[in-house]
Symmetry: C2
Subunit: 373 residues, 2 copies
């Protein structure tokens, strides 16, 4: 059932550490993005959690991180084991096709036949052993030529995630749980989500991809030939003295497009996308409501409190307080409340409105308050 | 209708500036009590508002302030016109009978026959001209031997104030609106409050007293002979070099009791308490709900924002934000919210729970967080 050692030897983990996490403002900022925060309660950053989860699969020396130039120091501090050659710095954000595609192209040049797995730096997974077993199945289907995603078995009819529809088993030895992906569906309404969960043939889209690097690049080339051309030009120069010059010239011109549109959806349409269902606990910690839920462990009568030196006095039995200042925070008679307290910005909202935080960030930018973003 | 110049010449204003205003924590603190804040939107402190309201009646040189030693500098900064001889410093709080009684006794020694008016330092009055006309009527009844209070004509069935019941006119020339007080009643429930307002014979108790100093002291002596004895001992030594020694010896031993119990209620029982109804806008700004109401001017669709450099981004149409830090404050989807943001403490509650803030202060004291009180 597990991948052979041979496959693991050819495996490389890629961690795109890019998104700021605007829905987690004012905790997440341009200079303190979501992946640098401890949102899981593990005592370390989500990025470090991700690293620790992957080391048993690929080893420290086979994990590549794609991040912004501004975050280099923070990332290296979090990951002392990260090899210099495995740091890919973006001069500016160009979205996931460019980020993952470049990693794939660099690694394919260094090591033809490499299988890469791309795992977001800012998700929470509670059972890493189960996660790794699922990745091992995905390695098998990836080696068989399928771009493979990991879908999460839903535990509730969430309206916060996209879904993967998969009905047909994929018969590949060593990957007994794999299926062919029929289609992707956007975040549904509650009634639809309930139907999905009941049907048993829908999984949460966790945005993880495992594929041979050459397969992935080929798929990008089908969708966006010019984008692939740019990626290959970068990869060719990457391990040479020309890297800087080529990056300056090519990177800013790359099309900004998510890998969902260039790889996942097209390959699903062509029947070339596999999915391995994961029965581990997963959360993308997309907003403060999600953090509240994660920390209360689903219990209804608990206020989640994050922050090392939090001084909170509250009679609330639900919601979340994030204390990143050392102030006393007092809550009286407010339920499902979200209070995020940082040295220069304060957010007060409710779990029900947590998704709207992103709009505030946009409004602050427009209103000249970019200093707190 | 107005008091003669003779009565105004004998008039002295007394401002007890004592209470912290615990229900306004974390805005009000031991070292920044309620009366030092701008809660009226006037651009200056409530204490200074009070002073400005009284100067046209008694003149700058005839206003005495009774306050804690710790507040001396702040009070003198607010009131540059305050004469040294008119600052009465409490070494520790001993409640209103001691504070007002001592002021009365000092002034009576300096100027026998003086009429004093005691006015809280931390109330909001919107029509000072009307206020002064009412005080002038009260001076007449005070000179006629009545301890006189000012009752506010209710504008709504408030459950936040005590009420004064008065049915019988008091026939004194120059005070056409004066009545004899039948009784005081504690804060009522809503149904009772509605009946009170409908009846037309109930007024809000605003805690203002105008009386001849000798009458007031006599009444204190009837209720609490020992307390009067202590007060007289202090007054006798006050303008002598013995003041310090006598204060150290006598003040801490004085009974702590509100003037409501030693003067107002007993004199009402004896038919010796008069009331002049005031038809000016008055508020004791007792909690944040009251501040929200005051600043929205009764309009329903307005969030009140206090704080000179407030940077608030909100979609709320009700409640109040007090910004005493320079942080960006963002509110999403919260109504009737109360957010009080100070450098070392944050309060989040709702208008409906505003009265419970005092309990938080008690809890913080017990839990060792006295540093933010």
């Amino acid at each position: 059932m597990a991948a052979s050692d041979d496959l693991l030897d050819r495996f490389y983990s890629v961690i795109p550490a890019g998104g700021i996490g605007s829905r987690l403002w004012p905790l997440s900022r341009a200079d303190a993005p979501k992946f640098l925060h401890d949102l899981s309660g593990s005592g370390q950053s989500l990025l470090r959690d991700t690293w620790d989860r992957l080391v048993p699969l690929s080893g420290e020396h086979r994990i590549m991180v794609v991040t912004g130039r501004a975050h280099r120091a923070a990332v290296e501090k979090q990951l002392p084991g990260l090899a210099d050659a495995n740091v890919v710095l973006e001069s500016e954000p160009r979205e996931s096709t460019a980020a993952i595609g470049l990693a794939a192209a660099i690694l394919e040049r260094r090591e033809p036949g490499v299988i890469i797995g791309s795992f977001a730096a800012d998700h929470v997974i509670s059972q890493p052993e189960r996660f790794r077993e699922v990745v091992k199945q995905a390695l098998v289907t990836a080696d068989a030529g399928y771009i493979t995603t990991i879908g999460i078995t839903p535990t509730e009819p969430s309206i916060g995630f996209g879904y993967i529809h998969a009905t047909k088993p994929l018969v590949v030895e060593g990957a007994p749980d794999a299926k062919i992906v029929d289609s992707f569906v956007e975040k549904p309404d509650l009634a639809t989500a309930k139907k999905y969960v009941k049907s048993g043939s829908y999984l949460w889209n966790a945005g993880m991809f495992i594929a041979r690097a050459d397969t992935l690049l080929e798929q990008i080339g089908h969708s966006r030939p010019e984008l692939l051309e740019g990626i290959l030009k970068l990869a060719e120069a990457w391990d040479t003295p020309r890297r800087g010059a080529v990056v300056d010239q090519v990177w800013p011109e790359l099309e900004k497009i998510a890998i969902d549109y260039t790889v996942a959806e097209p390959s699903a349409l062509e029947g070339k996308l596999a999915v391995v269902p994961g029965n581990f606990t997963w959360d993308d910690v997309g907003d403060f409501a999600s953090i509240a839920k994660l920390h209360s462990g689903g219990r209804k009568s608990e206020l989640a409190i994050l922050g090392k030196n939090a001084r909170v006095l509250s009679d609330s039995s639900s919601g979340v307080v994030v204390s990143h200042s050392n102030r006393v925070i007092s809550l009286i008679g407010v339920e499902d409340i979200v209070v995020v307290d940082t040295p220069d910005a304060l957010l007060v909202t409710t779990s029900a409105h947590a998704q709207r935080v992103k709009a505030v960030v946009d409004a602050l930018r427009l209103s000249g308050s970019g200093d707190v973003l």
